[in-house]
């Protein structure tokens, strides 16, 4: 992390989708089979229940943004179309948050009081 930059954390959003999962999908599968492989999508299409968006976005604290998306279209209960965007091959390296993070300004109790006498 840059020496003087503000302490930041990664911002992960959405379903962790990998190429391995998507390869297991076959048109004609039922919605339940899809859920068994991919899990349930966090982001259903706004007004069309037949489209599921599996989106994953990772804004790294000090790195760049990685974005991937798989949109599945169903006809009734059957999977008919698979769209892919972004690089699904690369493994997702989720850094577990190792520490509780910095103290919020001013919540240190009694540590150092402003001196009453003059400097």
């Amino acid at each position: 992390c840059s020496y003087f930059g503000v302490y930041k954390r990664d911002i992960p959003q959405g379903n962790l989708v990998t190429a391995g999962m998507v390869e297991q999908l076959r048109p004609g599968m039922t919605r339940d089979d899809v859920v068994y492989v991919m899990g349930r999508p966090l982001l259903e299409a706004p007004f069309d229940a037949n489209q599921w968006d599996y989106v994953f976005r990772l804004e790294e604290a000090y790195g760049d943004v990685e974005q991937r998306r798989v949109t599945l279209t169903f006809a009734g209960n059957r999977l008919v179309d698979i769209q892919r965007e972004g690089d699904l091959e690369q493994g997702i390296e989720m850094r577990p948050s190792d520490s509780i993070g910095p103290q919020v300004e001013g919540t240190e109790p009694f540590s150092v009081n402003p001196e009453l006498q003059p400097e």
């Binding site: 302490y7 992960p12 966090l42 948050s97 540590s111 009081n113 003059p118």
Partner: protein, 759 residues
């Protein structure tokens, strides 16, 4: 044969309303009924439990229901119970149907008697007896008396362990909480009272004792509990079979591990060859589960299965891992924050909505909420979303507590005398998470008013911004500082942000207008300075600081270290252009594992100088001596002495533009003080002084005793005992110190104390 009911009459009603009878009796006028239906109807009326007896009669086609009402209990007296509280007992009885206002059913009375005796037996009170009696108050209403004789608990006379070879009776008996001797303090805390649950608990402790030492096949074959004929003594015999001690064979993982095997092995607390221990296996499984939780597998389950290998002296360990589905957090809700805004809590969250769930982040987020200091209690609960098993809803329940104070205080500090102060400080102003503090202090030597506002989250990443405004009027007429005073007012703005978990940077700018006031016996150096530089000065000061706080606690730390580097400059254009650098460091070394003995080294150096040829402004000098500096010397009296005016007056110091001070302390615990966190005592060696790199001018003819330059020989030393105690009113610090090398001019003080300020 059936007949048509022309009308129904009810006889024998006292307190039950006819309406209740009719809507519980499924037959109404003009129904055609036969005997079977009537019997059926009577049974359902009886089922309401309101009547002792119901009989039907016919007067022509009119059906007459004769009822005898069951009395209702109008008063229930319970006496003689002390082991089971009144409230708990009434609650239990109410559930069993015995309560005031309820209908009395004799069958429930017996059942309650049996149940209560069973409860007392479970507590080892075998000689307990319960009598119940019913007395009529007036027709239809009764009083029920339940008298309990709890009897005494049978005392355990002997616990006998049979079959233990590798561990003797005494070691095993220490594992037991039950004891076969009355407590030492005349039986007050005796654990020799028998109860079934206590024995079951002890057997479980015995099992864990053996399983933690490699006895995989340990088993309690049977336990016998027997009682003396006079029912006062209990004898417990435990027949156990130790089996052999096993060492761990090979350790393997079964199931989809989700993390690298190397990393998984590092997390384990067990390795091959080590003596098998169940608690190690549990800690290892827990560590693995937590790691998977952090990976987003909130529903992961890990259990370590020992398999005794056929050759018999090693036990193999298989960690069976079921990572379960990766879980995501759908919604995070906060409950109980009726004053604190939602965003003030949400911005502390490490776990985000619509993101993989991490049990670690969820727990750490709770800790961050607790660290804010706004809540007395913070609980977190995760629940799967109905119908979507891999989604979680997280709810944080908080209990708010007043997070600030409105104070009117009377403080005392030797250097400033009695301080009257009034202040409002709120760290969660109107629930916005902003800090507001307004303070006014009035004492003999100074008056000050200050106002401060800080928004810790000026930006979402935690860059804080704060303003402050202050007005200060000081008069050192009779205090120990040289006899002049400065009035000042100013305002400043300050930004701060963390660059990692323990380090913060702060930048600020402030403008200040300062006026020097001199008096009859003001030191000549000062009068000369005012002559040369004038008494009024404006300055624009820029400040920057780097703070790294790795102490284990905010209050009374016992381990870790702390460094702080700060720079203050008055930029060109200000009347006096100077810079001031200050470096502080503290390092603590705990000497024992519960950290009540520790070595503490702290030091501070400061250097200030002017840009250009003007003299360094004396009112910005460093001072030394007193609490927080060199104890045993009066506050702010260490440094070069000033030359008094011809008309006489005490010679005092003006501080110096170089500061060196430090101390080495041994923190030791006071006996029989449990709460180490709010009281700390120490033996200390302090050292320090201020120096002047160049002396101040004096009117030409007057002799000046000042000698410029830093001379380590001038450092003053003292040894003594210090105590700091966090009282409800505020931190109290005091010390008793003996100066070691004080010289004639020094102003020493054996006993020093201060309330309301921690050092």
């Amino acid at each position: 044969q059936s007949f048509e009911v022309s009308d129904i009459r009810v006889e024998g009603l006292q307190r039950v309303s006819a309406a209740s009878v009719f809507n519980a009796f499924p037959v109404s006028a003009r129904d055609r009924v036969d005997d079977r239906e009537l019997a059926e109807a009577t049974r359902s009326l009886f089922a309401t439990g309101m009547f002792e007896d119901i009989s039907l009669a016919r007067d022509g086609d009119v059906l007459i229901i004769q009822v005898v009402e069951r009395p209702t209990i109008s008063r229930l007296n319970i006496s003689g119970n002390s082991q089971i509280g009144d409230e708990a007992l009434r609650q239990g009885l109410r559930q069993a149907g015995l309560a005031e206002g309820e209908v009395l059913q004799l069958s429930t009375l017996e059942e309650i008697q049996r149940e209560l005796e069973g409860v007392y037996q479970g507590q080892g009170r075998y000689s307990a007896s319960i009598e119940t009696s019913v007395s009529e108050i007036d027709e239809g209403r009764v009083q029920v008396d339940v008298t309990i004789n709890e009897g005494a608990v049978a005392r355990i006379r002997q616990i006998n362990l049979v079959g233990n070879r590798d561990f003797d009776d005494d070691t095993l008996r220490d594992v037991f909480e039950l004891n076969d001797r009355p407590g030492r303090l005349f039986g007050w805390f005796s654990q020799d009272e028998y109860s079934r649950e206590a024995l079951a608990g002890d057997l479980e402790r015995l099992r864990s004792f053996y399983l933690d030492r490699g006895y995989v096949n340990f088993n309690v074959d049977s336990t016998q509990v027997s009682i003396s004929p006079d029912k006062s003594q209990i004898f417990i015999t435990v027949n156990l079979n130790e089996g052999r001690q096993y060492r761990i064979g090979d350790v393997r993982f079964v199931g989809d591990l989700q993390i690298s095997e190397r990393e998984a092995r590092d997390l384990l607390a067990v390795e091959p060859g080590q003596v098998f221990s169940r608690s190690d296996v549990t800690t290892s499984s827990e560590a693995l589960r937590a790691r998977l939780g952090a990976e987003g597998f909130a529903f992961a389950s890990v259990d370590g299965i020992p398999e005794v290998s056929v050759d018999g002296d090693a036990v193999d360990l298989a960690f069976r891992i079921d990572a379960g589905r990766r879980a995501y957090v759908r919604r995070i809700e906060f409950v109980g924050n009726t004053t604190t805004q939602d965003e003030v809590l949400r911005r502390e969250m490490i776990q985000l909505e619509g993101a993989p769930a991490s049990t670690e982040s969820i727990t750490q987020s709770r800790q961050r909420l607790e660290r804010l200091g706004f809540f007395r209690e913070v609980d977190v609960e995760t629940r799967p979303v109905a119908g979507e098993p891999d989604k979680l809803d997280v709810t944080y329940t908080v209990e708010e507590q007043p997070s600030g104070s409105v104070s009117a205080s009377v403080g005392f500090s030797q250097s400033a005398g009695v301080i009257y102060g009034v202040g409002l400080s709120q760290s969660n102003f109107l629930g916005t998470g902003n800090r507001v503090n307004v303070g006014a202090q009035r004492s003999d030597t100074f008056t000050s008013v200050n106002f401060g506002f800080t928004d810790p989250y000026w930006t979402l990443d935690g860059i804080s911004r704060g303003y402050n405004f202050y007005y200060r009027e000081t008069d050192y007429e009779d205090s120990d500082i040289s006899t002049y005073s400065t009035d000042a007012y100013g305002a400043g703005i300050n930004f701060g942000y963390p660059i990692n978990e323990i380090t913060r940077l702060n930048f600020g700018a402030a403008v200040e207008d300062l006026t020097i006031k001199t008096y009859r016996d003001t030191a000549q150096e000062i009068q000369q300075y005012v002559l040369d530089q004038g008494e009024d000065s404006q300055a624009l000061k820029l400040t920057a600081s780097w703070t790294r706080n790795n102490l284990n606690r905010g209050i009374m730390p016992t381990a870790g270290n702390y460094q702080r580097l700060s720079l203050e400059t008055a930029v060109p254009g200000s009347d006096a252009e100077y810079y001031k650098v200050r470096a502080q460091a503290r390092q603590l070394f705990p000497l024992n594992d519960n950290q009540d003995w520790a070595l503490k080294f702290s030091g501070e150096v400061g250097y200030a100088d002017v840009v250009g040829s003007d003299p360094y402004p004396f009112y910005e000098n460093f001072y030394a001596g007193g609490l927080g500096s060199v104890r045993g010397f009066t506050a702010n009296t260490l440094g070069q002495l000033t030359t008094p005016p011809e008309t006489g007056g005490r010679d005092r110091t003006m501080g110096g533009n170089v500061l060196m001070q430090g101390s080495a302390e041994l923190l030791f615990p006071l006996p029989f003080i449990e709460d180490r966190r709010s009281l700390q005592t120490s033996l200390f060696l302090d050292a320090g002084n201020t120096f002047l790199t160049s002396c101040y001018d004096v009117p030409d003819s007057t002799p000046s005793s000042c000698s410029s330059g830093v001379d380590l020989g001038d450092l003053r030393y003292s040894v003594g005992v210090g105590l700091s105690w966090l009282t409800p009113v505020g931190p109290l610090t005091f010390s008793v110190a003996e100066p070691l090398n004080d010289e004639s001019g020094d102003d020493t003080q054996f006993f020093q104390f201060s309330l309301g300020q921690s050092f």
